[in-house]
């Protein structure tokens, strides 16, 4: 009997939740990313940027279509594939048709797969997946699908840009590759080997290794090897505490040359590196905050920092996601016909607030844009990170990086 009543109570709550009324005057966008657990900091940063971008770039401009506003609805996926799929289902039930997600390529893979199946099985309730951060190249190559759009440069594009810049530096003779032992770490390493081999066959790869992800407490032994190898530069795809641990250990062990990274800023990382990272730490990525590209960018960033003094614009592309989605909805004339919106997004060329042109390549739904090499420093920093005085300053720029690199994507169009 207890079992019965328990079931009824719980089911009643489930019903409450699913019958949540949906207002027709807003266009809801589901933000599916970690808001609790170890990666919650990154998720919270993304959410704040989305809310700000939706308000500032869309709603204050009068919204889309006949004045419909964007509303960001957060869903905590706890960086778990399973939870993401549950929350995706909840979002779809609430009538949400746009899904944004970025943290973890594993989750992105699960979502893109689920969205594909959902759209096939429920043609009347199709949804779009706007991926703003997951950079696994497969998502726009062998695993590409019509409903997925990527706004960040993928790992291969970033490596292409990075190796372009490195190839121009004659002082680099030995390179050390180290990364986390999973798909992204492996993708970075193999892309680096391949591209350096093409562009600068004379560069010697003095180390190429993977370490278990999130399990190394002390990176000193790795740092010793890197110092002992006499590398002129090192490349790592590490993020989170693996990035901090590795970076600090290497610098502490006496390494002075550049450390090229993908993710080594904000979320306390910039502050933690501080003075130590100056001169060696470099990021490859899109979006140039320093020096500011335009008054509009300055105003936007300033307004954001006023609203969120403890947060940073760590993912500048989020502004592009909002602006481009708004344009696509207007072009399509509908926020419910996903095929039309997707078709409008395909091939769209957009002038970003960050000064670059962003082209959503139609063949694979990969955004092509300028990619920068950004130095961690306190010189010439208008907008710092973590309120530390340190920030990222663009050193080099590769215009429309990898625009000519082919994709293996064979897109199935409805």
């Amino acid at each position: 009997m207890n079992r019965l009543s328990k079931l009824i109570v719980s089911a009643a709550i489930a019903g409450l939740m699913s019958s949540a009324a949906l207002a027709a005057d807003t266009i809801k966008i589901a933000f599916v990313d970690p808001l609790s657990g170890p990666f919650a900091a990154t998720g919270a940063q993304g959410l704040a940027q989305y809310k700000f971008a939706a308000d500032e770039l869309v709603n204050k401009q009068g919204g889309v279509l006949d004045g419909q506003m964007f509303e960001i609805v957060p869903f905590d996926n706890k960086i778990s594939a399973k939870e993401s799929l549950i929350q995706l289902q909840v979002a779809i039930d609430q009538g949400i048709r746009f899904i944004v997600q970025g943290n973890s390529s594993g989750v992105a893979n699960a979502i893109t797969d689920a969205v594909k199946k959902h759209n096939k099985r429920n043609p009347d309730k199709q949804v779009l997946f706007l991926n703003y951060s997951a950079v696994d190249p497969a998502l726009t190559n062998e695993k590409c699908n019509f409903w997925h759009f990527r706004f960040d440069a993928n790992a291969d594009i970033k490596m292409d840009a990075l190796t372009d810049i490195m190839a121009q530096d004659p002082d680099i003779k030995k390179v050390y590759l180290i990364g986390q032992d999973y798909s992204f770490g492996k993708a970075v390493a193999s892309a680096a080997v391949k591209m350096l081999g093409e562009k600068r066959p004379d560069i010697e790869i003095v180390g190429n290794e993977l370490h278990p992800i999130g399990k190394v407490k002390d990176f000193t032994p790795y740092a010793r090897k890197i110092v002992a190898s006499d590398a002129d530069a090192m490349i790592t795809g590490n993020w989170g505490s693996d990035m901090v641990g590795l970076g600090k250990a290497v610098i502490e062990a006496g390494y002075k040359n550049p450390i090229y990274t993908y993710y080594a800023a904000t979320d306390g990382i910039t502050k933690t590196f501080g003075e130590d990272g100056k001169g060696s730490l470099r990021l490859v990525g899109e979006g140039q905050l320093n020096p500011p590209v335009s008054d509009r960018a300055i105003a936007y960033t300033k307004a954001y920092k006023e609203k969120n003094p403890d947060l940073d614009i760590g993912q500048p592309r989020i502004a592009n996601v909002m602006e481009m989605l708004a344009r696509a909805i207007n072009d399509a004339g509908s926020a419910t016909d996903m095929v039309a919106v997707a078709n409008a997004l395909e091939g769209m060329e957009h002038d970003s607030i960050w000064g670059t042109k962003v082209k959503m390549r139609a063949e694979d739904h990969q955004a092509i844009q300028d990619v920068h090499i950004l130095a961690h420093t306190d010189d010439g920093v208008t907008f710092d990170f973590d309120n530390s005085g340190y920030g990222l300053v663009a050193e080099n720029t590769v215009k429309m990086a990898s625009a000519d690199i082919p994709t293996t994507c064979k897109m199935d169009r409805p």
Binding site: P38, F39, A40, A41, A44, D181, G207, E209, L210, H211, P212, G214, K215, V216, K217, D218, T220, P221, Y222, R224, K225, V227, A228, D230, S241, V244, G245, K248, E252, A253, G254, D267, G268, I269, K271, T272, G274, D386, S388
Partner: protein
Amino acid sequence: MSLIIVNLLDGLVTGLLLFMLCSGLTLIFSMMGVLNFAHASFYMLGAYFAYQISTYLGFWVGLLVAPFVVGLAGALVERYGLRRVHKYGHVPELIFTFGLALLIEELVQFIWGKSQMAYEQPPALDFTAFAIAGNAFPAYKMFMIFIAMGIFLLLLYILTRTRIGMIIQAALSYPHTVQNLGHNVPLIFMGVFGVGTALAGLAGVIAGPALGTFPGMAFQLGSIVFVTIVIGGLGSLWGALFASLLIGWLQTFAASYNIRFADIFEFFGFTPPVDMANSALRDLWTLTVPQIGPILPYLLMVAVLVIRPQGLFGRRET
């Protein structure tokens, strides 16, 4: 050769740090029979408290004060939480500490947020002590070694030269008899738990700047502490020391040398699959030792438990 010396030193730092956690855990387990799952959480609290104190009063005050605060927190947890659960038996006690670990992580995030804290080593120690073949050995690591050694000697002194040490030693060997000696057992329990957690806190205070201060730091270290004392033998301080150093060096050396599994397999006469990309065993063939370094302790523990369930130095059946 010079790299081996550097590795030995690095491994010593890791091992001694581990020992500071293990010694407290061993004390608690020996006296109270509780495997404190939240031990690493007190280590994390140590780092966060010290960080908070250091932002106002500097590193050195944090170093002195934070372990006491952690120990006090530990004593309170014992007094108002663990003692209540004690009567239900060991499994609920273990599960209590398991829940406590979850709660502490949530509380830390609630208070300090989810980002990495900028907890830094003091400027006075921010220099290179010496360098061996280009590999710098930071002064802070020397400092860590000294502190850990100091704690070890202090523990040794207390355990072998003082009356309270005698009681504790008696409890290590004969856990049931101490109660009969007329000692205030609840007070001793509270004290031991406090001291044990304070040791963990101290480890956190000095490890925070070196290994990072973030909400995941307890989880990262949590189970490895168990593994260490299980390998060493539950209830054995010398076993804890031996296992800590063993694991410190094991992990350091495993990460330092890129031994490929393919070489090992070929040494034993296996031939690599012709079509590597499609072989079901491709992952094994491309594996290197650093990739599996951090899981070696678990492998070691399972092996030890299967062969010698009481651990390397343990006398008691668990």
